[in-house]
């Protein structure tokens, strides 16, 4: 059973999607470690190390995603999980921006997959299957 760490990064308290993601991924057969809202990069990384997770799935809804996610890949490298798969989704920047630009910004930060607003978690299941090799 593959393990996925989920949570909501930064000072973000949007809890609904987080609960739904937990429900959906568990139903889809994953071991889900939910660190909840208001989680720092360190919280995600520690949880991933502790549970030998295969994927960190970061939610950011409130708009500060850009500030909150910077340097996360570097921290993973430092922590010795350089190759862990990093996803980010939700409403990851402030306002309605051209998404291709936004995507580039986050890919450059080292995220493997970046999702536009309104992508329900179900739509990402295919990618997860692919990336976790099932």
């Amino acid at each position: 059973m593959k393990t996925i760490v989920i949570g909501v990064i930064g000072a973000d308290v949007h809890a609904v999607g987080n609960k739904i993601i937990e429900f959906t991924l568990s139903n889809a057969g994953y071991h889900v470690v939910n660190i909840g809202v208001l989680s720092s990069q360190e919280d995600f990384i520690n949880a991933a190390i502790e549970t030998a997770a295969d994927l960190i799935l970061v939610s950011s809804l409130y708009g500060h995603g850009e500030i909150d996610c910077r340097g996360m890949r570097e921290k993973c490298i430092e922590a010795g999980i350089a190759d862990i798969c990093l996803y980010v989704g939700g409403n990851i920047v402030v306002g309605k921006q051209d998404f291709s630009e936004v995507k580039t910004r986050f890919l450059e930060m080292g995220f493997n997959r970046v999702y536009p607003p309104g992508t329900p978690i179900d739509d990402a299941l295919k990618d997860i299957r692919e990336d976790l090799g099932e």
């Binding site: 930064g10 000072a11 973000d12 308290v13 809890a15 609904v16 609960k19 739904i20 429900f23 909840g36 809202v37 208001l38 409130y62 708009g63 500060h64 850009e66 500030i67 409403n91 920047v93 402030v94 306002g95 309605k96 921006q97 607003p117 309104g118 329900p120």
Partner: protein, 483 residues
């Protein structure tokens, strides 16, 4: 617990105040001198006083429109508010960014600096503490309508000091409503105490003849919150505020989606708030109501979002709530541009004007739903008072601890999180899992029956899947998440 529902003495208040003002450099501004602040507030003209304008609206039985809006840069924020005023907003807000809400003023400063440098918003609101009284006065002096701070801050003491001293005559929030949906690990007794301070500040001004409006945040998590739960929280926060000397209170409710239940919720919210304030001996209270347009996930399509905004306004107008908080067609995507925000204001204003002379007429269904909500709220209020042995503040903390009060989908660990809501077959929000919610058996039976009716008509078992389906449904254009 040294918490008590008791008015802080002026001495207590002033002594805490010293500490509060030291929270960030802008707390040292000499405009925060209370004599100066009182003087400034006394000069606020009536039409820019939130409380007085609300009273007038209530008297005339009209619904006022207020958007949500806030951007980090001062000049941009001013332009935004002026634009919304032009679009017809009766009140303007200043929505505060999320770092400030968590008292992370350092990060807010970084975000503000970078936003100014790149001239692109990196914060999701106006960092009011970092801006300080001077900038807030600039905002106040740039518009012709009252201003309210809207945030989600468990410790909003410094924030509140700054905004009121700058002439902003309304402040949203409360010890429960700005904690449970907005924080993970702030104990309820801490946030309640913080908000006693915020209310006491308003009480202080009140004693000096300055009327300031307070608005507990009704929608809570914005997601399938049954009216009895949010109304109970509203009444508790109104009582707590009144104890600290607040006189002008707007109790709130976030649209559920069923017309009858929504109107019933607003009506019973008003009746019962007045009733409880009266019962506990608070006199000369001015109570109004605020209806929030759909607070859950919005549809992505902008035409659909406009339809939802307009429908929400229709419900508000028919319920004759005093105020209506509007959304924008960008809601599901991100913080709206000022133009998108303006579209929401215009559509909302059109509807409340158009329906000015119409009300939701009396009917058996409406009366039944009002009775049901009142019964449920009375039941919850009794439980809270009982467990607090007569002290409402203590009772609230204990009720949440024991799950007797429980808000669905809340992030706080001080919330049991065991209540699960779902819609019934008409789309009214009912409760599917009660956890320890302080309901009596009769009420529980009613909810079970209602949800069973729906399950039958959908030919499926009652389960959490229903809740999940209902969380998504409106954003997909249906009220009830049918299979």
């Amino acid at each position: 617990m040294d918490l008590k529902n008791k008015k802080l003495t002026e001495a207590e208040f002033l002594s805490i105040r010293k500490e509060v003002l030291s929270g960030w450099v802008t707390g040292k501004d000499n405009e925060l001198d209370l004599t100066k602040a009182v003087e400034y507030l006394k000069q606020v003209p009536d039409h820019k006083n939130f409380a007085l304008k609300l009273n007038l609206a209530k008297q005339n039985n009209v619904t006022m429109v207020q958007p949500r809006a806030g951007v980090p840069e001062l000049e941009e924020h001013i332009k935004l508010l002026q634009y919304l005023e032009e679009c017809g907003a009766d009140f303007v807000p200043s929505t505060i960014d999320s770092y400030t809400r968590q008292n992370r003023y350092n990060e807010a400063q970084k975000g503000l600096d970078e936003s100014i440098e790149k001239h692109r918003a990196l914060l999701n609101g106006f960092p009011v503490v970092n801006h300080g009284v001077k900038n807030c006065k600039r905002v106040f002096e740039s518009v012709n309508v009252p201003i309210e701070a809207r945030h989600g801050t468990p410790d909003a003491r410094l924030l509140s000091e700054i905004i009121h001293a700058a002439g902003w005559t309304s402040n949203e929030g409360g010890g429960i409503s700005y904690n449970i949906p907005y924080a993970k690990s702030v104990p309820l007794e801490v946030s309640i105490k913080n908000w006693q301070y915020v209310d006491r500040l308003v009480g202080y001004y009140e004693e000096r003849g300055i009327r300031i409006n307070r608005e507990p945040f009704g929608p809570l998590t914005g997601t399938l919150v049954p009216p009895c739960i949010s109304n109970t929280v509203m009444i508790i926060e109104a009582l707590l505020a009144a104890e600290q000397g607040v006189k002008n209170i707007t109790v709130g409710y976030g649209m559920g989606g069923n017309l009858i239940q929504d109107v019933a919720a607003i009506k019973s919210l008003y009746y019962q708030t007045v009733e409880y304030l009266d019962k506990f001996g608070y006199k000369d209270m001015e109570i109004s109501t605020v209806f929030h347009q759909w607070m859950g996930g919005f549809p992505q399509d902008e035409a659909e979002a406009m339809a939802l905004i307009s429908y929400s306004s229709t419900v508000a107008a028919l319920s004759k709530s005093t105020k209506l908080i509007s959304k924008s067609p960008h809601e599901s995507i991100g913080i709206p541009t000022k133009e998108a925000n303006g579209l929401g204001v215009k559509a909302s204003k059109f509807i409340v004007n158009m329906l000015r002379d119409q009300v939701m007429v009396d009917s058996d269904c409406l009366a039944h739903e009002i009775r049901q909500i009142r019964k449920e709220v009375d039941c919850l209020m009794n439980v809270v008072l009982e467990v607090g042995e007569g002290d409402l503040a203590v009772g609230t903390v204990l009720a949440f601890k024991q799950g007797l009060l429980d808000i669905p989908f809340a992030p706080s660990k001080y919330n049991a999180g065991m209540v699960l809501p779902a819609r019934d077959n008409e789309g009214m929000i009912r409760i599917l899992e009660f956890g320890n919610l302080g309901f009596d058996e009769e009420i529980k039976e009613f909810h079970k029956k209602k949800i069973l009716e729906r399950a039958k008509s959908e030919q499926r078992k009652v389960s959490f899947q229903m809740t999940v389906d209902d969380v998504y449904s409106v954003s997909k254009g249906k009220l009830i998440g049918r299979p």
